[in-house]
Symmetry: C2
Subunit: 279 residues, 2 copies
DNA sequence: GGGTATTTGTCCGTATGTATT
DNA sequence: AAATACATACGGACAAATACC
């Protein structure tokens, strides 16, 4: 026979109540002592059941207040596919246009600029020789005031030495770094590759995103390596998004605009238009 | 002052040992009773520390054996961007070529075909009127014998009625369904959109993927909506990947082949250009 | 600001069950 | 069958966070 352990039975009963709507999002569960009586179990067993629900993101408990059914966050969609010659997945007006298009308000910190050695695995995609330096530009992004993503772009230091001086200034490059690199050092970005992984947040990320410190919410990491027309990597942008409030989108070929489904406008045309407006 | 609680200090010490390599992947930790003595804590407190590590995926414990440092699975990379007119993210030879290119062995079940009503939110992307029917083709995929992804494609039933009869047969369409739809009913796929979300696995998924039932490992869900040259959605493919053994790749514009890089991260990103040419 | 009641968080000891070797 | 190691469950005590008066 071997029925499920008691803490699982309690957890399953509570989960059923949540999924069937008997317990609405945001609503407070009965206290541990009340549940202890209801299920004729010890408080520790009730706590085991609640822990099981917490791990699955169904409830959260707040010391001194109680345990509450989790409220879901309305996700924000980031489109990974853009115009290969302009998309910088980062600074500039394109990003903020995508945010406002979803009726949300973006804000971000000024870039934090550092110069590092390139020998760490962190910048392996840039294929730089050992001992070379990289410029790192780091930004924190918010949407509607809540922390939404962390982003760091790495550029070979050689770009600065050949004229892209604004890369080492701690201010936004409004026209986008892709456009700036073309103007200043004549480097044309012709494509990029994104590698998407899902992993547990590190300490910095958990703190910034205010993630529950039980590692339940994972983060999505995208590593964008951009190439010039000679196939040389010119930029690596690492973005980290908490998985509980983000979605990614990829568009390939001609895709109708979801807003106006009958419209024949192609995705590629839309991207070009955006890029021009921003440049 | 208020130092961290003891179970966190113990967990942090163990985590440090793991991250610094003092405890190698696969290696057994000291038993709970030994740790109890080492840290002068009760066994329950040691267990709280271990639970904290388990939730974060650092260790796993096996009844009767012990607690072990978690061994990471070598990830498989799926490329989302392909030729807009052929990529089916699914059946046919393209997928299996991408797998073998990474020196892995693919296998999958025959498609399980069902006919359903289209009114569920499951198929909202197909924009079908209420009461319309859809064909659902479901497959389980394995790589090197371990469960790797679950995939379901939905097609409007009208495609079958106008001649795409093989859609309702429980056998693979080797040339790919995109090619088959072109031959049989003259529908040309010109593009697609992928929506990528990360979420907790449901029960079916947790069982199939043999995920730890603590909800720690999340799954990546991609919903691919494909359109014909009139902007009408012709297919919806929902794929579910366990996040602990999968990466996604997106390529835009011209991207050089990832040369035999010295780094494992890029080494797995096998080229799919060849696959497309052959498809 | 202080004090008190409520609620969850941490920690202990103990007993018994279950899985593995 | 016996030993080992983790899993579940109980009860108790005190600490810490929060809300309310």
């Amino acid at each position: 026979m071997a029925a499920d352990p008691m803490y699982r039975q309690i957890a399953d009963d509570l989960r059923r109540q949540i999924e069937e709507g008997e317990l609405a999002p945001g609503q407070q569960l009965r206290t541990e002592l009340e549940l202890r009586e209801k299920y004729s179990a010890s408080r520790n067993t009730v706590r085991d059941a609640i822990k099981w629900l917490i791990t699955r993101g169904l409830v959260e408990s707040r010391p001194g207040q109680g345990t509450f059914v989790f409220e879901k966050i309305s996700p924000f969609v980031t489109t990974l596919t853009g115009n290969p010659r302009t998309s910088s997945s980062g600074e500039g007006t394109i990003y903020s246009q995508e945010v406002t298009a979803q009726l949300r308000t973006p804000s971000d910190t000024l870039p934090q600029v550092e110069i590092k050695q390139a020998n760490s695995p962190e910048t392996a995609e840039l294929q730089l020789p050992g001992g070379a330096s990289v410029v790192s530009r780091h930004q924190k992004r918010f949407i509607d005031g809540t922390p939404w993503s962390l982003q760091t772009s790495f550029y070979p230091m050689s770009l600065v030495q050949t004229g892209a001086l604004r890369l080492i200034q701690a201010e936004n490059i409004d026209e986008g770094t892709v456009e700036y690199l073309k103007e200043s050092v004549g480097i044309k970005q012709v494509g990029y590759r994104d590698m998407i992984t899902v992993r547990a947040p590190d300490n910095t990320e958990a703190t910034f995103f205010k993630l529950p410190d039980d590692g339940r919410v994972s983060v999505i990491e995208t590593r964008r390596t951009a190439y010039d027309d000679k196939g040389v990597p010119v930029r690596l942008t690492v973005s980290v998004y908490p998985a509980d409030r983000n979605q990614l989108a990829v568009k390939v070929g001609e895709v109708p605009d979801p807003a106006e489904a009958d419209d024949a406008m192609t995705a590629a045309a839309a991207d070009d238009a955006d890029a021009e407006r921003s440049g």
